[in-house]
Symmetry: C2
Subunit: 246 residues, 2 copies
């Protein structure tokens, strides 16, 4: 009988054209499906909790698939990690209820955005953090952050290429952490629109630099507009940290 | 008039076929020479303190070149870092005496070897540390380390492909540092034979596992032999940290 298996997945997104399966480019979904298909000797498709773009990393992406499972999950995990390349790792596998689905059952997500905030770039973090050499004032960023918390129409903070959808989301928390030159923004919410975390990060950094007043945020929520654009923070700083379920 | 310029260079070796210029493969030396040649509008060749193999990193490789320098070094550094790709960075530039040479004037070097010593591999360090999932006993490694300190004939610890040379070197210090799952071996000596740091690291890890007795080291110094082989620790864990001069 078919069972639903949940996978929690870590990956270094540097050498992938994103999560989503594509005919001619390397993707995380494509790599995992190919290995599962090899192990199960039949075609297996997986559903991810969300797509990540090229260069975006994950500490805890979630995906589900349905199949008869002919071996203990511990053995399946070992086989998967043996066959997968070193930039993908399966952290856990678990059986879930028949109705469980990585995307539809998700109640929220946490993303981390990492910034290297110093004058000199660092060769070892160029694919793992956004090199941002400008001085930012944290008190300005924190004021703007306070306006982001709660339920809002995020039309002003979605990518212009996004397909039509309900632009209302709840942000539960944005934590700002600094450790020397390393700045982290940790976003938790019930869901995020296309490129929303990178757009808000780019916006908050410009607020920190004094280029945008924190109060502008209130205005953008009162009069949502697709016309407003700021610099989008690049993919390499973004990590899907966790997906929440009931 | 020609002046001697010393460069201190940081690089992520992942996407290079090593330091040394090669006709058809990307090298750190080749990249820097191409940018210097572009800036100076004449061919510039640089000499490195030592070659690093494909995948080996540097926090402080040193190279020298001779030329008339038509601009302040601060401007030259900025121009170099602008033109170089993000996996190479010039840390400092300085004028040196006419007799100064990156390799011939070097008095010693420090290398760091990084090991991820835990059961689960980590996708983010696969190019930056040696994933070594076996338990190692530090007291065994420390005993072996004590035998390495000093002047020895390192014939037993050089790569079999090395060209004939004087195999005597002085190791001033090998520090063993553990921070959770991260193990570091920090080697300082007057010079190192080809692949010597990686060979000693592979050896020390096998000592830590209990596969080789620490006292074997004394025997290998008393009766140096090219026949003795152990697992060579891979390139990705190795960093040239510093080159010393008078």
């Amino acid at each position: 009988m078919d069972q639903v298996v949940k996978m929690v997945i870590e990956y270094d997104g540097t050498n992938f054209f994103g999560w989503q399966r594509q005919p001619k480019a390397r993707s995380v979904q494509g790599d995992i499906e190919r290995v599962l298909t090899k192990i199960f000797k039949k075609e297996i498709q997986i559903d991810g909790a969300g797509r990540t773009d090229a260069g975006v990393h994950a500490y805890g992406q979630v995906a589900t698939f349905k199949s008869t499972i002919p071996m203990p999950l511990e053995n399946l995990k070992r086989a998967l990690n043996n066959f997968l390349s070193e930039d993908i790792r399966i952290l856990t596998l678990s059986f879930e209820a028949e109705t469980f689905h990585a995307r539809y059952s998700a109640k929220g997500k946490t993303y981390v955005y990492k910034v290297l905030n110093t004058v000199d770039r660092d060769v070892f973090t160029s694919h793992y953090a956004y090199y941002y050499p400008y001085e930012v004032k944290e008190e300005l960023m924190l004021e703007a952050i306070s306006y982001f918390i709660g339920e809002h129409d995020f039309t002003s903070f979605m990518a212009s290429g996004s397909s039509a959808q309900n632009p209302v989301r709840i942000i539960h928390d944005i934590m700002l952490k600094r450790n020397g030159d390393n700045l982290e923004l940790i976003y938790t919410g019930n869901g995020f629109l296309y490129k929303m975390v990178r757009i808000i990060t780019g916006y908050l950094l410009e607020v920190g630099q004094g280029k945008i007043l924190p109060g502008k945020t209130l205005e953008l929520f009162e009069n949502p507009t697709r016309k407003y654009t700021t610099k989008i923070a690049p993919a390499e700083g973004l990590y899907l940290k966790e997906v929440y379920y009931d």
